[in-house]
């Protein structure tokens, strides 16, 4: 009695299959959304809620500025605390999307009466956008394949290490927001191409605008989409839908992008954007020809017309490009762009780009590390895409292939490839699993109902009919299914392990294992920056290698000579020259730049290997690129870089060596080794008796990682 009563009550709540599916899908998406967020919180749990690495400190500082001074002051901000004495127009030399986003979130939270600190907002911005990316990935997957592929894509991208590496909590960098914007723009564009709707085209233009405001990687979009359009044109897939989508994106996107000061007229003038413009004109020609073809009935006449038009169009385009290049109206490709197309270009021509570790060509192991099973799911996914070719799958295939190439050129571009790899792999997983389950279920269905195959596709039905001849098919499918789940679970384990072990280190606080297996924390960077903040005059200028510029201004609040915004190569080369000169020559450079303190990072005591001595050859190269008095062979012995007794005399006496190893010769670093044993390089240093004439040691952190020297005034009586 009561049983039937409750079932009556529950009846309205009883869901149909469709509704159940929707519920499950929403539930999975919610879980994925939360998972993407919490898997990025390892760094907060391991260390604390802090900003990581180098560039994020600048972003944090500018965000602070936005929240304190408002948008217009930020837009016009002239920062005289960096690049002394040149200064930097911050508003015109950055992509403001990230800062404005964080500031808006901050405002919103305060409006809702959540009194959070802006730092917390900055720390959690990247995970938040990673969560949003999973949603976009779901919709994108749904658009190009089906909702199953969308779900798998959302799950894969939520934990993919290639993406997590740039979006853990605290990694407050442009990429965190930009990957979301990138994928979102692509999704909206594909949607626009599929529907041919002006509204979706408009949305994609705004998505593009957000991307332009967030990251310089927007150049990828504005080159990939024209390429995609070109491929569609060549393969004869030109349609009105494509015409509407592309023109809307290009015209509106261009106008919107030009509102970003850092982009401005580059969007119509620089070589990187010319492909988009060319394709835009080509599209008009195509449309025109289509119309003429429609008007002309005579095919021969049309062929003639076509030849003339195409020749004229190509000639006009070529002349315009040539004149533009020659008159300097169209700027040539930048070095960064060249180095993307040609991996060896930067090494030969732009040492400042080549010196950054994340600009190095990618090692195979890091592909494995970042993609794990996606690496072999990717080709499988490509196979499925080619089997069911459509406008959308062509897009994702092109995105996947181009971004994989770029990922091979530069380590950091693995990030751009990640969404494509996840989506294509998701297609592979989804299609395989679907086929296998269809196989499993259709057999029982075949047994039960016989020939009812309305829901399954023709492919599945053919497989099912095939299946009847192979008795072990079901078991095989079962095994394969388990294998797939095993692989996916391995993937999840791997991702979590990588996230917790490799990608959650803030790099400003270093952790190591002590002799007894305990965790040792080296907090030397912050120690040094706080020392600067507390103990030096407000207008003191600090010279260091450019890597530490952002951190010094953000945490030490002191003026720096160069920082991570490497816009002025000469200035950086001057610092490189000072570091690689003898002390008295360096002193003149230091005086001419009004430097008060010199900061070096030294890992000889702790064995921290990314210190200034290991970066020193880049200083020499960059300095020598502008000032030919600095010659790299002077610092090498038979082409070998060494710091021990056999080192080159110039090496042993240059400023960087002296500042790094000052008083180090007296120190015992490791039991059983002579004093002055450098643990980072594993040798005994070659010059233990270092005397400083024009500089004096001001501060050395507890583990000697950061050493700060004060510049003495000139001799009073001489």
């Amino acid at each position: 009695m009561s049983n039937s009563y409750t079932s009556d009550i529950l009846k309205p709540f009883k869901l149909k299959t469709k509704q159940q599916e929707l519920l499950i899908r929403v539930l999975i998406l919610c879980l994925v959304y939360i998972l993407a967020f919490i898997t990025r919180l390892f760094s907060v749990l391991r260390y604390e809620s802090m900003i990581h690495e180098f560039d994020p400190y600048f972003n944090y500082r500018t965000t602070l500025y936005v929240t304190q001074h408002g948008f217009y002051d930020f837009w016009n901000w002239f920062d005289y605390e960096s690049w002394y004495p040149l200064g930097r127009i911050v508003g015109g030399t950055l992509y403001p999307g990230l800062m404005v986003t964080a500031a808006l979130i901050y405002r919103l939270l305060h409006f809702l009466r959540f009194a959070v600190h802006i730092r917390e907002v900055c720390v959690l911005t990247a995970p938040f956008f990673a969560s949003n990316t999973t949603l976009v990935a779901y919709f994108f997957g749904k658009e190009i394949w089906d909702s199953g592929a969308g779900l798998v894509a959302a799950i894969l991208i939520a934990v993919c290490p290639g993406y997590i590496s740039r979006s853990v909590a605290g990694s407050y960098d442009n990429e965190g927001v930009a990957i979301f914007a990138l994928l979102f723009t692509f999704y909206l564009f594909v949607k626009a191409v599929n529907t041919g709707s002006l509204a979706w085209g408009l949305a994609s233009a705004f998505g593009y605008f957000y991307m332009v405001s967030a990251w310089g990687g927007y150049v990828f979009i504005i080159n990939l989409i024209p390429l995609y359009v070109l491929v569609l044109l060549i393969t004869g897939r030109y349609s009105m839908r494509l015409y509407v989508a592309y023109n809307c994106l290009y015209i509106l996107g261009m106008l919107l992008a030009m509102q970003i000061r850092f982009v401005g007229f580059q969007h119509v003038q620089s070589g990187e954007h010319m492909a988009a413009m060319g394709v835009f004109f080509l599209m008009q020609v195509f449309y025109f020809l289509d119309w003429v073809k429609h008007m002309l009935s005579d095919t021969n006449l049309f062929q003639e017309f076509l030849r003339i038009t195409v020749t004229c169009a190509v000639a006009v385009g070529g002349i315009a490009l040539g004149v533009g290049m020659a008159s300097g109206y169209i700027s040539p490709w930048t070095g960064r762009f060249y180095s993307l197309l040609d991996p060896t270009y930067a090494k030969d021509h732009i040492p400042i780009i080549a010196s950054v570790s994340e600009h190095q060509p990618t090692a195979w192991s890091s592909f494995m590390f970042d993609f794990h099973i996606l690496l072999f799911l990717f080709p499988a996914g490509l196979y499925f895409c080619f089997k069911r070719l459509s406008d959308a799958t062509i897009f994702i295939v092109m995105y996947g292939l181009t971004s994989m190439y770029f990922a091979g050129v530069m380590v950091r571009l693995i990030l751009v490839a990640t969404p494509a790899v996840c989506l294509i792999s998701a297609i592979a997983v989804s299609a395989t699993v679907k086929n296998l389950t269809v196989l499993l279920r259709s057999k029982t269905k075949v047994a039960q109902i016989g020939s009812t195959k309305g829901t399954s596709s023709a492919k599945a039905s053919s497989k099912a009919s095939l299946d009847q001849s192979q008795p072990f098919q079901k078991n095989g499918a079962m095994a394969l299914l388990f294998g797939a789940f095993y692989l996916l679970s391995r993937y999840a384990t791997h991702c979590t392990w990588v996230t917790s072990e490799a990608y959650s280190s803030p790099s400003i606080v270093l952790a190591a294992r002590g002799a007894h297996g305990n965790r040792v924390i080296f907090d030397d960077y912050r120690e040094a920056y706080f020392w600067l903040r507390q103990n030096t005059p407000l207008d003191a200028k600090v010279m260091s290698w450019w890597d530490y510029g952002y951190q010094i201004t953000a945490m030490g609040n002191r003026t720096v000579i160069v920082d991570n915004n490497t816009w002025n190569n000469t200035h950086i080369a001057t610092v490189g020259r000072a570091m690689s000169s003898y002390e008295d020559e360096a002193y003149e450079i230091i005086r001419s730049l009004d430097v008060d303190y010199v900061l070096v990072v030294f890992g000889g005591v702790t064995g921290y290997s990314s210190d200034d001595i290991n970066k020193f050859l880049w200083m020499v190269r960059i300095g020598g690129g502008v000032f030919p008095v600095i010659k790299e062979p002077d610092y090498l012995v038979n082409g070998e870089y060494r710091i021990d007794k056999g080192a080159a005399p110039k090496m042993l006496n240059c400023l960087m060596y002296k500042l790094s190893y000052y008083r180090f010769g007296e120190m015992m670093t490791e039991y059983g080794k002579p004093p002055g044993y450098d643990r980072a390089r594993g040798v005994e240093i070659g010059n233990k008796d270092i005397k400083l004439e024009h500089l004096e040691e001001a501060f050395t952190t507890s583990n000697w990682i950061v050493r700060i020297y004060k510049v003495k005034p000139p001799n009073n009586r001489w």
Partner: protein
């Protein structure tokens, strides 16, 4: 009890300025001078020089150089403003004084007069070296001049020389020309070529050389001609002033009073130039002359009075500074027409001579260059004899804000016209296209 304390503190705070009426930026003239002697006989034999100092208000304290009680500072405070070393033969100072202490004394802005003599000790030579001069290393060498010697009753060995090769500077030697030559008997020194601050005030004649007068000259003398400096001065970067000479006897009463006739010259002066020369130069050493100060550095936009935190490119601005010279008793306006201002960022973008109103106020106005960055207002006034004025003030120059550009540019009117006509044309076209049959 409490009242007593109050009175004590009040009286100290009232008396404090008088207790410390020593050298200060406000009254740069020295007050307390420590004189270190070889023996007290010098007090009387050089009394004319000392009395001249005393009469100008200096508080001289005479001590033997090896007195174990002497000290330059107590509790971290210097007890004296200047030091006179009339102790050429001292091997070791008493008390806590050594070369390093003297160098620190100078480096903290105090003045020094060093007089060496024949057989000067290594200690005094070392002080000289620290100040940028090298005395002749031969301990018995003297400056000999067979042409420019001072005529005296006996023929002698020509070690008493009469020199009149002065530095040409009114600030150092006073406005009144020194007519009579200077009598000098002692050792010569060379100024160190590496030192850019040391100046020869009195040089030997081209015929002079430095050697032992009693022995035959076997090797060429190391110091010859006008490379030999008889009296040198140094103005350190912190404006401490130093005088180094190789003759103690040139300060003596005997040289002050004695007449002088330079060999080969017919004019016989009744009194040597020593007194005038040394008195005038002591005025310079003790900051009674040639000491400048700059105050009230002001800069602002034309038409405003407040100093802005930063300028914009192409701003018109005014800069002014007041420069005074210490006359020994009061600050007088400094009058010169060569004070220059630099608007400096790595190199001077603007270099202007400041115009003076003869009352100490120097001012100029100029337009900020069309370059942004962190500039400095720099006045680097380094004139012979004067303390170096080195003012620098950092000021950032920012570019235009987004709303400071011109809204409508006349040259762009064709483009505005094109844009608006395009819009209108599009509208009409759409209208016609949509509603015409």
């Amino acid at each position: 009890m409490g009242k007593l304390w109050l009175i004590c503190i009040a009286s100290i705070s009232i008396l404090l300025p008088f207790l410390c009426n020593a050298f200060s930026p406000e009254t740069p003239t020295d007050r307390r001078v420590l004189v270190l002697l070889d023996d007290f006989a010098i007090m009387s034999s050089h009394s004319l020089y000392f009395n001249a100092l005393k009469s100008r208000g200096f508080d001289l304290e005479f001590k033997l150089a090896d007195d174990p009680k002497i000290a330059l500072q107590r509790y971290g405070q210097y007890l004296y403003d200047a030091l006179i070393l009339f102790c050429p033969s001292v091997e070791r100072f008493g008390g806590s004084i050594d070369v390093a202490a003297i160098v620190n004394f100078v480096d903290s802005g105090h003045d020094l007069i060093v007089a060496a003599d024949v057989n000067a000790s290594d200690l005094i030579r070392e002080v000289g070296t620290e100040c940028g001069v090298d005395f002749d290393e031969d301990p018995s060498a003297m400056v000999i001049d067979h042409i420019g010697y001072a005529v005296s009753g006996t023929e002698g060995d020509h070690t008493l020389i009469a020199s009149d090769d002065f530095i040409k500077s009114d600030v150092i030697l006073g406005a009144k020309k020194i007519e009579a030559p200077i009598l000098f008997r002692g050792i010569g020194h060379a100024v160190s070529p590496a030192n850019s601050l040391v100046l020869k005030v009195l040089s030997a004649s081209p015929s002079a050389y430095s050697a032992n007068p009693k022995s035959k000259l076997s090797t060429p003398p190391p110091l010859t001609g006008s490379a030999i400096s008889l009296v040198s001065i140094v103005q350190a970067r912190n404006n401490a002033r130093l005088l180094i000479t190789g003759s103690l006897s040139m300060f003596s009463n005997r040289f002050f009073r004695s007449g002088v006739q330079k060999a080969g010259s017919q004019t016989k002066h009744g009194k040597s130039g020593n007194e005038q020369f040394l008195t005038e130069i002591s005025k310079w050493i003790f900051h009674e002359r040639g000491h400048l100060k700059a105050i009230n550095v002001k800069h602002h936009r034309v038409g405003e009075t407040d100093e802005p935190a930063l300028y914009r490119i192409n701003d018109e601005l005014e800069y002014s500074v007041e420069i005074y010279e210490w006359s020994g008793t009061s600050w007088e306006p400094y009058v010169a027409n060569d004070v220059q201002l630099q608007f400096y960022m790595m190199s001077p973008y603007v270099l202007k001579t400041l115009s003076s109103d003869k009352k100490g106020l120097y001012s100029t106005s100029f337009k900020v260059p069309d370059v942004y960055g962190v500039f400095q207002f720099k006045v680097e006034h380094q004139k012979l004899g004067y303390t170096s004025l080195s003012l620098s003030k950092q000021i950032p120059v920012r570019p235009y804000r987004h709303n400071e550009y011109e809204r409508f540019i006349p040259a762009a009117y064709p483009y505005y016209g094109a844009a608006f006509s395009m819009m209108a044309g599009f509208f009409i076209f759409s209208f016609v296209h949509l509603y015409s049959k």
